[in-house]
């Protein structure tokens, strides 16, 4: 039996929370789906030791307590058909139908291959933050943070808060780009305050510009890294290396639904209008999947989507705040643009597809993701190309290919519950 809701929201980060809050206030019956156990998304992920950030906690609690809310944690969307989604959690499959669907599926890290990136102890930068908040043991561990953008600062602060010895932050952008970025921050006072707080927290952590981790070494776990910087190559002994090259939108579900996408560099994002409407009727998108814009942008877009999906008008001041928040994303992109050498760190024998252990040289004779997949199994493993697909697109090898159901590995029992046309007939909303 399919459950029907006025609004179904996929994703419980800032965009999803704001959308849920707005839609509930408008009297809508809302179903709220997230793959994680708790609301908050990545940026407001609940810390097993420290809880949620205070602002997030009160709003999440308010939304979850609402009598018109149905919260579906640890649940993933497997397939979609007409106005229904097929969902799966650890044990069960479930179907929900919607009058309006709000996609707030957020972003993930851009993880790029280099020799040794498969070693235990090497993670993404945001990944280390997520793992630390899950209770990953960091006390006394020697941690190096590297990659691109302000996420590195946040990751370093979280690692330090969990007792790590952060040996250094290695930013790939040059000193001028970072300083120019810092000079634009006055336009977003909240961001400036955040940067100042992080700077103070990390006062004793070296911050280096123009650096790239070119190799990680160890037998069965990370032991040493090599960092290539303006003053040559530095070898650093460490227990944990966290490398993230920024974020890319999670567009798989939007793509499968048929929403029009645009490209930012090598990565797709969902095209929306000023009301956060996608190209598909009754499907809205808000936050990072509409282009990386940060928490404040996600929050405003979620609110707009929640209001629009319930038929409310959007006032001009909300639109104005939104445009201002989006401009921050442009500043970020400009100043932390990837140094071309980052795309050349992988050597011929570096594994690109971590699921199927496919090396870069194995892919040399293919010009598109689909033929490479058929011949080499690259992208055919459990992650379904989420890591290698984005990496190969960024490396300029193949463009991303399409997405077909199941969107995540699914049990046969779940697939047996796919909606069929006959079950739609006679359905009363």
């Amino acid at each position: 039996m399919t459950e029907r809701y006025d609004v179904v929201i996929v994703g419980a980060g800032p965009a999803g929370i704001a959308a849920a809050d707005a839609a509930l206030a408008r009297g809508a019956r809302v179903a709220w789906i997230d793959a994680q156990a708790n609301g908050g998304g990545q940026v407001w992920r609940k810390d097993s030791e420290h809880g949620w950030p205070r602002r997030a906690q009160s709003i999440i609690a308010r939304v979850l307590r609402h009598s018109s809310m149905t919260w579906m944690p640890q649940t993933e969307v497997i397939a979609a058909e007409r106005d229904e989604l097929l969902l799966q959690n650890t044990h069960n499959a479930r179907r929900v139908a919607y009058n309006a669907l709000i996609l707030a599926t957020g972003a993930r890290e851009l993880l790029l291959p280099f020799p040794g990136w498969t070693l235990p102890g090497v993670t993404g930068a945001g990944a280390l933050q997520a793992l630390a908040k899950q209770g990953w043991p960091l006390a006394g561990r020697r941690v190096v943070i590297a990659g691109a953008g302000p996420l590195l600062w946040a990751a370093a602060a979280t690692a330090q808060r969990h007792g790590a010895r952060v040996l250094g932050i290695y930013e790939q952008a040059g000193a001028k780009a970072v300083h120019d970025f810092a000079r634009t921050l006055w336009r977003w006072p909240g961001k400036a305050v955040q940067a100042a707080v992080l700077r103070t927290q990390l006062a004793d952590v070296p911050y280096r510009y123009g650096c790239a981790v070119r190799r990680a070494m160890g037998d069965d776990a990370l032991q040493t890294i090599e960092v290539d910087g303006p003053h040559g190559v530095e070898r650093i002994e460490c227990d944990q290396l966290a490398v993230g090259y920024g974020l890319i939108p999670n567009t798989e579900l939007a793509h499968m639904l048929g929403c029009a996408l645009k490209l930012e560099g090598a990565h797709p994002y969902v095209a929306v209008d000023a009301m956060q409407r996608s190209s598909i009727a009754n499907v809205y998108a808000a936050g990072e999947l509409c282009g990386i814009g940060g928490r404040d942008t996600a929050w405003l877009e979620g609110r707009i989507a929640g209001l629009a999906a319930t038929g409310a008008t959007i006032d001009a001041s909300l639109q104005r705040q939104h445009r201002h928040a989006r401009a921050f994303a442009t500043a970020l992109r400009t100043h932390f643009a990837l140094d071309p050498r980052i795309r050349n760190l992988a050597t011929p024998d570096t594994l690109i597809c971590r699921c199927e252990d496919v090396s870069l040289q194995t892919l040399n004779n293919y010009t598109d993701a689909r033929s490479a997949k058929l011949a080499t199994r690259c992208g055919m493993g459990a992650c379904q190309g989420r890591v290698c697909g984005a990496a190969l697109a960024e490396l300029g090898r193949f463009a991303r290919s399409g997405h077909r159901p199941p969107l995540f590995p699914a049990r046969l029992a779940t697939l047996g519950d796919l909606p069929t046309p006959s079950e739609h007939q006679g359905f009363i909303a």
Partner: protein
């Protein structure tokens, strides 16, 4: 915050862990391996958010569970590297 300890088993070994942590964090605390890749390499969590599938293990008899997405529960049985 939540400092209550609960008992789980990882590869048959009992382990007391703080309530609310992820299975991935518990495996790391037990210093156990996560899985081997198709060519036999040792792998461990990489993305921390359910995208990369590098941390998958068997939890309470159900294979291919992402350890970073699951929260520990009293009496949980985790099998790694199988």
């Amino acid at each position: 915050m939540n400092t209550a300890l609960i008992r789980i088993e990882i590869d048959g070994q009992a382990l007391d862990v703080p309530n609310g942590i992820s299975v991935a964090a518990a495996i790391a605390r037990a210093q156990r391996p996560f899985r081997r890749s198709v060519s036999g390499q040792v792998r461990a969590p990489f993305c921390g958010m359910g995208i990369c599938f590098e941390c998958r293990v068997r939890i309470d008899g159900i294979a291919q569970q992402r350890a970073c997405m699951a929260t520990v529960r009293e009496g949980m049985q985790v099998m790694t590297d199988d």
